[in-house]
Amino acid sequence: MSSIPEELGYSKEHEWVAGLDDGRVVTVGITAYAAEQLGDVVYVSVPEEGSTVEAGDAVGEVESTKSVSDIYSPVSGEVVEVNQAVVDDPSLINSDPYGEGWLFKVRTTGEAEDLLSAEEYAALTSGDS
């Protein structure tokens, strides 16, 4: 069973969102469950700093040995920071998905919508893992 930190919000597309309660800049990454499903991540692209993203948009992609998936922004707003370290070393997504493997930060506009709680995300990902 992969870890699902209690304090994060989750999208159905397996992104996590941190900092929802603190203010308007949130951090986005890929869940441990998704990283385990992917296997060794060899390439990741993230949206450009300064770009505008809409919740549900495909804003990047993540490739592993066997597969490639889109990354969807779970929130709307402006990308204020991207994690160059994870672009340079995508294996951080496998080794530390909720920490050093974060992808980008968004200054959100409006409310984040339809994110799942840790409990709901656990329910979503149980049964087929």
């Binding site: 499903q37 296997g39 060794d40 060899v42 390439y43 992609e61 490739e63 040995t65 066997k66 490639v68």
Partner: protein, 374 residues
């Protein structure tokens, strides 16, 4: 519902990620597939290949039946030797690629890909009609384990080899032996580009042999390896995968493997299924329809099966990727691809792969991508 191998419980207890492959539930990886790949290159990996088909052809005319059925002359194969060959349709299309082991003068073991095993058994049976030979698909009775990597011979020795001296077993040799007290057909064959062994054993012995090899191999860095590593290993070694580089629409000559087709000598031509079509394919080899090449990507995005190869300058499609993956050894994405016959290829020619709408530059290289030091 997928079939499971006799080692299914072992894979589950190791926490393997399982995947459906050719109707079988197989381990894709146990942990990091890149680490499994590197273990095979540097030390050794242990594979469950029990999904492969084991078909026995026996009888006074077993060799003659296989000479007729397959593109190679198996009657020329020495006892306790193996050969890589193919089963072709009358139109020359490849129905499967095979390794055939001659176990005795009148006994051959044909190992087929899992997805094709039923068809190969049926074709061999049909083509053996009129010969004094019996074809028996014994896939269910057999398990197949592979130990692959430079430390393989030491690991087998550590597990304990009886009734045989495997030191004398050369590449593409096969002989019966006891390994860790378990009766096995031990072949020095593989699909990784490394030295290694494949062990055909009774299905009931699979878990016991797996445990014995795991224990014996631990000090040598042996680790279980799944299908993901197997695929990147064979790709680096430039080995074709049926369904990707080989299909019923392609001849062995298309794949650059015309050398496996044996037409016989000038004064003693031999007949076999597909001969006429394959002769035509051979004679067209000066102006081939297509050719199989290696591609190394300059970027980090991975060319994958089915992606178009394009001329970077004008976007014209000049070929198609058959297999692609990030190469743990090269540290870059690699691929095999068919290029149209008139595309010369080379770094100067400006080829690219259309990776989901974006053209990523690639260089054409000779296969294989990786060759072990021998």
């Amino acid at each position: 519902m997928s079939q499971t191998t006799p080692l299914h419980g072992v894979h589950e207890s190791l926490g393997a990620t399982m995947v459906d492959f050719a109707g079988w539930l197989m381990p894709l990886r146990y942990g990091s597939e890149s680490a499994e790949h590197r273990a095979v290159r540097a030390a050794a990996g242990l594979f469950d290949l029990s999904h492969m088909g084991e078909i026995f052809v026996t009888g006074r005319e077993a060799a003659a039946a296989l000479d007729h059925a397959l593109v190679s002359r198996l009657s020329a194969l020495k006892v306790r030797r193996a050969r890589y060959t193919m089963l072709c349709a009358p139109d020359g299309g490849v129905l499967d690629d095979l390794i055939v082991y001659r176990l005795a003068e009148e006994e051959f073991l044909v190992v087929a890909n899992a997805a094709n095993a039923d068809r190969v058994a049926a074709e061999l049976a049909a083509r053996a009609e009129g010969f004094d030979a019996a074809v028996a698909d014994r896939s269910a009775a057999y398990a197949l384990l592979a130990v692959q990597g430079p430390r393989s011979a030491e690991i087998l020795a550590a597990a304990g080899v009886g009734d045989a001296d495997l030191g004398g077993l050369r590449y593409y040799g096969v002989q019966p032996a006891k390994v860790a007290g378990i009766g096995a057909l031990v072949a020095r064959t593989g699909y990784t580009g490394e030295d290694g062994f494949e062990l055909f054993i009774a299905a009931d012995d699979a878990a016991g042999l797996w445990r014995a090899l795991t224990a014996a191999g631990e000090p040598y860095g042996l680790r279980p390896a799944g299908l993901a590593a197997r695929d990147t290993l064979r790709l680096e070694a430039g080995m074709p995968l049926y369904g990707n580089e080989l299909t019923a629409e392609l001849t062995p000559f298309d794949a650059g493997l015309g050398r496996v087709v044996d037409f016989g000598d000038d004064d003693e031509a031999r007949d076999f299924v597909g001969r006429a079509a394959l002769e035509a394919a051979r004679d067209a080899a000066d102006a081939p329809r297509r050719r199989l090449v290696g591609l190394v990507s300059r970027g980090r995005r991975v060319p994958r099966h089915g992606y178009p190869v394009v001329n970077a300058a004008d976007g014209t499609v000049v070929g198609e990727v058959t297999s692609g993956a990030p190469s743990p050894t090269l540290g870059r994405p690699i691929a095999m691809a068919y290029l149209a016959g008139d595309v010369t290829g080379g770094p100067a020619d400006g080829l690219a792969v259309d990776i989901r709408g974006r053209h990523e530059p690639v260089d054409v290289v000779d296969l294989p991508f990786y060759r072990r030091n021998t």
